[in-house]
């Protein structure tokens, strides 16, 4: 059920107010009985999609567990090479962004167009910051040291023959996660563009904001598991 809250009747210029993409002018698709059922349906679909994402990452976590059991030494060494401070910084960045994106949904529900955009912008900045920290302080220096996945591994101080596998899982896991960060940021960027251009989201039309936010929370959630597994457990 979408809300009927309209706490901030933000004035909009006429050409936006009458635009078919403005949230007040949105109608349910022809095959839905009501707008609310369409909203519920979209959310159910999104949750199903998030289930598939969880299962996708479950494969990586499962591989992590198997190789941790097979090669505990390599895994212990591997996590020593990672600096927990960068991981923690990125965790904080993502947690803040999850909070702002939740705020963005609330702002859409309340028709607070100004803070909807501000919250989305902060979220996008956090996404960029995350990718920046990941590249600048982790991927690039580590690859320069030869801590690369699989056969590209040529780190001279390696102490365990199976360390290349650790780096394989590290890059695959964090790489696919980073890809999800970029996809999520693209979705939220699209939401931002549409709210800027048409005020497309409001109390009775915020499906896209909510679903993008759900996706973003999933990105955060996956990192919440990746961070301790990769950085903290020795």
């Amino acid at each position: 059920m979408q809300t009927t809250l309209d706490a901030y009747d933000t004035p909009a210029p006429d050409h936006i107010r009458s635009h078919p993409k403005h949230w007040r002018n949105r109608k349910a698709g022809h095959h839905w009985r009501t707008h609310d059922e369409e909203f519920d349906g979209s959310k159910l679909g999104m949750w199903l999609f998030l289930t598939t994402e969880v299962l996708l990452f479950a494969g990586i976590f499962c591989g992590y567990a198997v190789f941790r059991l097979l090669y505990p030494e390599a895994w212990a060494n591997g996590s020593h090479y990672l600096d927990w401070r960068f991981g923690a910084a990125n965790t904080v960045v993502l947690l803040i962004s999850s909070w702002t994106v939740a705020n963005a949904v609330r702002c859409a529900q309340l028709n607070n167009q100004k803070w909807l955009k501000i919250n989305l912008i902060i979220t996008l900045i956090c996404a960029a910051l995350f990718v920046f920290i990941k590249l600048k302080f982790e991927y690039i220096p580590k690859l320069a040291d030869g801590k690369a996945p699989g056969t590209f591994f040529n780190y001279p101080m390696a102490q365990d023959p199976h360390e290349p596998l650790w780096w394989s899982l590290y890059y695959v896991g964090t790489g696919i996660h980073a890809l999800h960060v970029l996809i999520g940021a693209t979705l939220l960027g699209w939401v931002l563009y549409r709210s800027w251009r048409y005020q497309a989201y409001g109390p009775t039309e915020y499906t896209m904001v909510e679903n993008s936010a759900l996706y973003w929370h999933l990105v955060d959630l996956v990192w919440i598991f990746l961070f301790p597994l990769l950085y903290l457990i020795h």
Partner: protein, 585 residues
């Protein structure tokens, strides 16, 4: 139940003609279909796409059977030189690029497997008949997410193009399972293995989108009055299928992605030379690929439930038992993947997986018993759909029962990787899914295209397919128990007769399918117009016209009776004289 008035003009003034109507001009028609979000058009596009893939996979199957007509032998000529005979495919395609006869055979069976599994049988029933009839049977105007539906079709085509590209570049010889480490090293300087794996990866997205769409549609778009237990059993089957698609496909997604990384970056996770674990690959692979076996068979079971009830004119026996057994099969399907690797795990794990495998037999048997009980004292109409239904019951029972010795540890040790396995899963996949699919196409053909097909020709085709199928695959049970291993181009002389019988059977199958093809083309060009309800069905698709109007129904239907209440309801558009209700006195 709401009645249909064909002369009614729509309340919203939208298009009320057949969904097949379109603008004049060939290219505008193509353009209309290319951007359509109508589930019926997308279902038809899927139908033609998967049937085309069935044709490609079938050609590969015929090639495999052709190669096995003759064993490979070194024949010593009178002048003392030795000549190798029996590489039939090699002698057809030539051997200029240094590919041996065995390699050509390996590619032929890999193409057969990969095309049939990923591009034909997984999307076959849900994406074509499911797409077309799931919303109509629910009384909805469309699936929940029409645009995602179209996207899923394009993703399917896009993925299939990668697969076909890989074939054109020379094909893949890994087997459809892409087992590591062989799949990591074979054709190391070529991209075709990566392309084929990428094709399967991309096709997975299409499968997930279809599954999501159907689950939401079933939850949210049922017509007023239609509770969960008023849904046709076809919907229950598709719903259970969709759950598996959504939950299993992501696992193969990450597995195939890791395999692609292995090929390109040598990350080593599945490579024993680098400390990786090839058995982990097998676990991941079968965690998807065993549940997906039920993605293939569950919709077929749904079709059989519909066809049986309609063509017996009898309430289906044990409605709830059939509905819940679909969900039961879906649940158990996730717990049995280990039976593909009995020899790669400890004894206790193997025993557990064996016991869990036997569990599958329970809901499956419940279905078969209920179907047979439905036939009992039914008013059986022996037409093509019904013949296919009977063929399904017969062949699927053989396929299912021969699964039990494969699930038992002791017998599996003898039978695994033999032709017994090949025969078993072909009895289920082809004798089950393909037979039900073809039966379902006949059943719904008048509804989809508004034309009747020739019943006699259809029955003739069914009989030829049934005989050809048994000739092809029953021999393989015998070959398997005698020790013929799967995936070999060569064999000892004792097996030649059975192999030849099997190959002749594959030609009979070809003839049978050509008869159907001819029948369908003839029906489209010159078939008599189909009435709205030629079989006297009670599900909602028989309420609307044949073919359905663009928005399926003139008015939103209100459901007042169950889908199989043949003893209390005269079917829509039917004369009560033709469908007398049983005397209640």
């Amino acid at each position: 139940m709401s009645t249909i008035d064909a002369t009614h003009t729509g309340p919203h003034g939208h298009h009320e003609g057949s969904y097949l109507d379109g603008p004049a001009g060939f290219w505008s028609r193509i353009a209309q279909w290319a951007v359509t979000v109508d589930h019926k058009k997308i279902g038809v596009m899927y139908l033609f796409a998967v049937l085309f893939m069935f044709f490609l996979g079938g050609v590969a199957a015929l090639a495999v059977r052709l190669e096995l007509l003759d064993p490979v032998r070194d024949v010593v000529q009178p002048d003392g030189t030795s000549v190798t005979t029996g590489y039939i495919l090699q002698s057809i395609f030539g051997a200029t690029d240094g590919v041996s006869g065995n390699e050509i055979y390996n590619r032929a069976f890999t193409l057969h497997g990969a095309i049939m599994v990923f591009m034909f049988i997984v999307p076959s029933i849900p994406a074509s008949l499911g797409n077309f009839f799931l919303p109509i049977m629910l009384g909805a105007k469309d699936v929940a997410f029409p645009r995602l539906n179209l996207l899923s079709w394009y993703i399917y085509v896009f993925g299939s193009i990668f697969g076909v590209l890989s074939i054109l570049m020379g094909g893949v010889d890994t087997g459809w399972t892409f087992y590591t480490p062989y799949s990591l090293t074979t054709d190391a300087d070529h991209w075709r293995v990566v392309l084929m794996v990428l094709a399967a990866f991309i096709l997975g997205f299409s499968s997930i989108l279809t599954g999501m769409n159907f689950i939401v549609t079933v939850h949210k778009l049922r017509a007023p009055g239609m509770g969960w237990f008023d849904m046709p059993l076809f919907i229950w089957a598709i719903y259970a299928t969709s759950i598996i698609q959504v939950l299993a496909t992501p696992v193969i997604g990450i597995t195939l992605l890791l395999l692609i990384f292995e090929r390109i970056f040598r990350i080593g996770i599945f490579d024993p030379a680098m400390g990786g674990d090839p058995v982990l690959y097998q676990h991941f692979f079968w965690f998807y690929s065993h549940p997906v076996v039920y993605v293939m068979i569950l919709p077929a079971m749904g079709i059989i439930s519909e066809l049986l009830a309609v063509h017996c004119r009898k309430h289906i026996f044990g409605y709830r038992a059939i509905a819940f057994s679909s969900l039961g099969i879906a649940a158990v399907s996730f717990l049995v993947w280990g039976h593909h690797m009995f020899t790669a795990m400890g004894e206790l794990a193997a025993m557990l997986f064996s016991a869990l495998t036997f569990l599958v037999a329970i809901p499956t048997a419940i279905k078969v018993f209920n179907w047979i009980a439905t036939l009992y004292k039914g008013s059986i109409a022996l037409n093509t759909p019904m013949l296919y239904t009977l063929a399904f019951l017969f062949l699927f029972s053989i396929g299912g029962l021969t699964g039990l010795p494969l699930g038992a540890l002791a017998t599996d040790l003898h039978l695994h990787d033999s032709y017994f396995v090949v025969a078993h899963f072909h009895y289920v996949m082809m004798g089950g899914t393909v037979i039900a699919f073809v039966g379902g196409i006949h059943h719904w053909w008048p509804k989809m295209f508004g034309r009747m097909y020739n019943e006699k020709v259809g029955m003739l085709g069914c009989v030829i397919v049934f005989i050809g199928f048994n000739v092809t695959f029953f021999t393989q049970f015998i070959l398997g128990t005698q020790g013929m291993p799967r995936r070999y181009a060569n064999y000892v002389d004792e097996f030649q007769l059975l192999h030849q019988i099997s190959t002749v059977g594959s030609w009979l199958l070809l003839v049978g399918f050509l008869v159907h093809l001819f029948n369908f083309i003839h029906s489209l060009l010159a078939g008599p117009k189909a009435p709205p309800n030629p079989w006297g069905g009670l599900t909602l698709e028989w309420e609307t016209e044949s073919p359905p109007i663009e928005h399926n129904f003139h008015h939103e239907p209100i459901v007042k009776h169950g889908p199989y209440d043949f003893d209390t309801v005269v079917p829509p558009h039917c004369d009560p004289k033709d469908f007398p209700l049983p005397d209640k006195a």
